[in-house]
């Protein structure tokens, strides 16, 4: 049982890394769509978030669409506050790590600038950052998955020895 639990933990870690990569790709797709909405459709942020979020049926897509809905409701709350609250919800639901969330936070700080060039520049910068992380993670993923599984097995073996 201890061995199985250890292997399970290792597999969960590997799965988490895979999900993180997948979610980073979702975010990248969303940002490319958002860029198009702002640049060519001249959509306002709530509409752009809703349109892009609904086009990407995934956890990150739902998150962006929800953010759009909240902005549309005009609750009387500043953009930054809504963005921050939505980020906290995203962090709970996804495999994204603290650094990924911090990147999104920085993007949010720049998204409420009044000119289009700054918005588009901020999105481009964020896309580059995701791409770097994605490439880094893709390169590391096979190794990390193997390491996770191996560590799971080894730690459970270690525990068994301790118990004996």
């Amino acid at each position: 049982m201890v061995l199985m639990a250890g292997v399970g933990c290792g597999m969960a870690y590997s799965r988490n890394q895979r999900m993180r990569l997948e979610q980073l790709r979702q975010l990248q797709q969303l940002m490319l769509l958002l860029q198009g909405e702002i640049q060519y459709q001249c959509s306002i942020l709530p509409e752009a978030f809703l349109t892009c979020g609904n086009q990407v049926s995934s956890i990150c897509g739902r998150w962006l669409a929800d953010t759009g809905k909240r902005l549309n409701n005009m609750e009387g709350i500043p953009f930054q506050t809504i963005w921050e609250q939505q980020l906290q919800a995203l962090q709970k639901e996804t495999a994204l790590n603290a650094a990924n969330i911090e990147d999104l936070r920085r993007l949010g700080n720049q998204l409420s600038y009044p000119d289009k060039e700054t918005q588009l520049g901020a999105i481009q910068l964020y896309c580059q950052r995701i791409k770097q992380q994605e490439e880094h993670l893709t390169g590391e993923l096979p190794g990390k998955m193997k390491l996770g599984t191996a560590l799971g097995i080894l730690s459970s073996v270690f525990l068994i020895i301790l118990l004996i």
Partner: protein, 313 residues
């Protein structure tokens, strides 16, 4: 959501509370003025009032609420739905039209580039001019605009805040719907500033009649030509003409056999004659009816009506 609640939502939370507490008839509210560190003002029933923190209107400075920079910043966020970048062109013209057709005038530090005004930064003054649809206000004018010979090319001349857009809107509705005695006609509206139809996501929030097509947010000169080519209107309606391109497009509309309904800023036909671009309209007798408005007898009061020669009717 009613128009009133919809409008209050564009204000900062503090201003929302104050404005919601005002005990007024919303239909008679004309303007809300915000200036940084200055009292919150409203124009109600053609009179100016200070608004207190409790929402009480007064004419003295005893009980006033001073607008803060935060109020202006938040209000701008909500007016632009957190997306001022999407209103770059409107900001260059000095106003944004919001849901409901209300016009928000903005002032602050103007940034210039070689092409002209680039944007307005440090926005510190807002003037929210409310749009109200007054159904039936054009009935009096209808027999002048439409007679046995057809629909006359009509120009409504009026200073700001005298109800020219309101009158134009109702004339469009009346011509489009028709009556039991005559069938309405197809009306094409070029609504450059979204004030006539107050379209939200393409759907007009004001009633412009059942035979009306609207080109929303389209420059007038382009829009008039587009409508002629694509929607076969009998009447083309536009608000606030003034540029050389507008005049050329109006001539195109008339030559295409359509009638034109338009408005222009001014106090009299003389005013129009004195404007270099518009002078030709009067001299060449392009319009068959001139309707001059003032607000002496209330908003939309018709001061005089003239024919093409400038004779009073």
């Amino acid at each position: 959501m009613d128009k009133k609640q919809e409008l209050w939502k564009v204000f900062s939370l503090k201003l929302r509370q104050i404005l919601m507490n005002m005990n007024i008839d919303f239909e008679r509210l004309q303007e809300i003025r915000l200036r940084v560190w200055e009292p919150l003002l409203v124009i109600y029933d053609n009179r100016e009032f200070f608004v207190g923190e409790t929402g009480r209107l007064s004419t003295c400075m005893n009980d006033i609420y001073r607008v803060t920079p935060e109020d202006i910043r938040s209000t701008l966020d909500f007016i632009s739905r957190y997306s001022l970048y999407a209103y770059e062109d409107e900001i260059r013209q000095g106003f944004i039209t919001i849901q409901g057709g209300h016009r928000v005038g903005i002032a602050g530090k103007v940034v210039m580039d070689p092409q002209g005004i680039k944007t307005i930064r440090h926005i510190a003054f807002l003037n929210i001019r409310l749009s109200h649809q007054v159904k039936g206000c054009g009935s009096e004018l209808l027999p002048i605009v439409r007679d046995d010979t057809g629909i006359r090319h009509t120009l409504i001349i009026s200073p700001p805040r005298c109800g020219k857009t309101t009158l134009l809107r109702d004339l469009i509705r009346l011509l489009s719907d028709g009556t039991q005695d005559w069938q309405g006609v197809t009306v094409g509206v070029v609504d450059e500033r979204s004030e006539i139809g107050a379209c939200y996501q393409g759907i007009p929030q004001n009633d412009l009649g059942k035979r009306t097509d609207i080109l929303d947010c389209c420059p007038k000169a382009y829009g008039m030509l587009m409508l002629i080519r694509s929607m076969s209107p009998v009447v083309v309606a536009v608000d606030e003409i003034g540029s050389r391109e507008d005049i050329e497009a109006i001539e195109y509309v008339i030559n295409a056999g359509c009638s034109i309904l338009a408005t222009v800023h001014g106090n009299s036909i003389e005013d129009i004659r004195n404007k270099p671009v518009l002078r030709r309209l009067v001299e060449e007798r392009i319009f068959e009816r001139y309707v001059v408005l003032n607000n002496k007898g209330g908003i939309g009061h018709i001061e005089r009506i003239f024919d093409a020669q400038g004779n009073g009717l």
